[in-house]
């Protein structure tokens, strides 16, 4: 009978919602709890500093400025007595940045990175235009893998000409997996700076050392990544990186 069948189906629907009534919430209470963000997550753009000297990595080559699809980045420089470029200002307009990551990929010097930070709301629009110092300050505690070290290792000029971007193929260093791991281990722990008030410190687990996964998807990574996803080799590599993480986290 139609009515009985309809009633049965209606009650079945109640059963499904009723079943969920007893389950636990899958959401999190945001400011207190946070979901873990993946390493590759693209948040706000920060400028990276050299780990030893604390100076900016940026060489004012303007590649990022050219790569930016919205014109959010403005790089200003002047030439010193040796005709070398010196960065005078680096402005990032967060109101028009679209977080595409093209600037990070275009950069050959690990000068900037889309960090895993996403909380930068302000009262006024003007406060979102960040200059060099602000970007550097925000980027102090961001872990990263230094692309320049590979450059130095290669028997080339210490500073390659930044004016012309090379095809990515040429940048690919002939590194083996062991070397990468060694490099990762060598990496100094990021200095704990006093946290900026707008940028709550990420949870310790998030401060992973930059592994090969952390890099933008250019050629070097593809070479280093194991081919087979389920091979024992991969698992090992994954475990290694996890171990590193734990060490970093427990420190």
């Amino acid at each position: 009978m139609g009515v009985i069948k309809d009633l049965k189906n209606l009650i079945a629907g109640l059963g499904i919602t009723g079943k969920h009534l007893g389950t636990h919430a899958i959401t999190v209470q945001y400011p207190e709890q946070r979901d873990k963000i993946p390493e590759r997550s693209r948040g706000i753009v920060v400028l990276l500093s050299d780990k030893e000297t604390g100076e900016l990595n940026c060489t004012a080559c303007q590649l990022c400025m050219r790569a930016c699809p919205t014109g959010a980045i403005v790089v200003e420089f002047e030439r010193d007595e040796n005709k070398r470029k010196v960065l005078t200002n680096f402005t990032l307009d967060n109101t028009i940045c679209c977080f595409c990551g093209l600037c990070e990929e275009s950069c050959n010097f690990s000068a900037l990175k889309l960090a895993q930070k996403y909380e930068f709301s302000t009262i006024g629009k003007e406060e979102l235009v960040w200059d060099m110092h602000k970007l550097q300050e925000v980027g102090r505690d961001v872990p990263y893998e230094d692309k320049r070290k590979k450059k130095k290792a290669a028997p080339k000029k210490p500073t390659p000409k930044p004016t012309e971007k090379k095809p990515e193929e040429e940048k690919k260093p002939q590194q083996t997996k062991e070397e990468v791991e060694a490099q990762a281990e060598k990496k100094a722990k990021p200095v704990d700076k006093p946290v900026d008030k707008m940028e709550p410190k990420p949870e310790p687990e998030k401060e992973k050392p930059a592994t090969e996964d952390n890099q933008p998807g250019e050629k070097p990574k593809a070479g280093e990544e194991p081919t087979e996803q389920t091979g024992g080799k991969t698992e090992q590599a994954g475990d290694d990186s996890k171990d590193d993480t734990k060490k970093e986290g427990s420190d």
């Binding site: 303007q62 400025m65 050219r66 014109g71």
Partner: protein, 156 residues
């Protein structure tokens, strides 16, 4: 039917009324005279072998020398694809509507009229819909268009 066969079929069917253009990199591309357009479209649709019953896309182009109108046609049942192109000089930017053949052309032609200023004859409802109703700053998709508040991406 492969792309080459389709190219030959259309070339043979319409002889010199259509010109095959090498610029079409993937699917065959033909140039059609503006006066001839509706007739050719109708025949393309009615031909049982081709039966281009589906207008996938229609758009204007400003090449800085002349206007072009590109029709991307497809056949749902025969699984074919072809592009038609009509070249219009700047001073005669006017074309016949293909709404009678494919009703889908309605909004595409309106959009073309609105953004490029290419007039569409026999269109039932040429009125603004993408731009504000009180728009008075010309045709924004033209290459020479400029407006006081139009910020071009700086050349870097």
């Amino acid at each position: 039917m492969t792309r080459d066969e389709l190219k030959d079929a259309i070339s043979n069917k319409f002889k010199d009324r259509v010109t095959h253009l090498e610029a079409g990199k993937y699917d065959p591309l033909f140039e059609v005279k503006a006066d001839d357009l509706v007739d050719i479209c109708q025949q393309l649709k009615d031909d049982p072998e081709l039966s281009f019953d589906y207008l996938a896309n229609l758009g204007g182009v400003d090449t800085t020398e002349h206007f072009e109108v590109v029709y991307n046609l497809a056949s749902v049942h025969k699984k074919l694809r072809v592009d038609l192109k009509v070249i219009l000089p700047y001073d005669q930017a006017e074309i016949d509507s293909v709404i009678e053949i494919w009703p889908a052309a309605n909004w595409y032609e309106r959009e073309m009229w609105e953004l490029y200023g290419i007039n569409v004859r026999n269109h039932p409802n040429l009125s603004r819909f993408l731009l504000p109703d009180d728009w008075d700053q010309g045709f924004p998709m033209r290459k020479d268009w400029d407006a006081p508040d139009f910020i071009r991406m700086p050349e870097r």
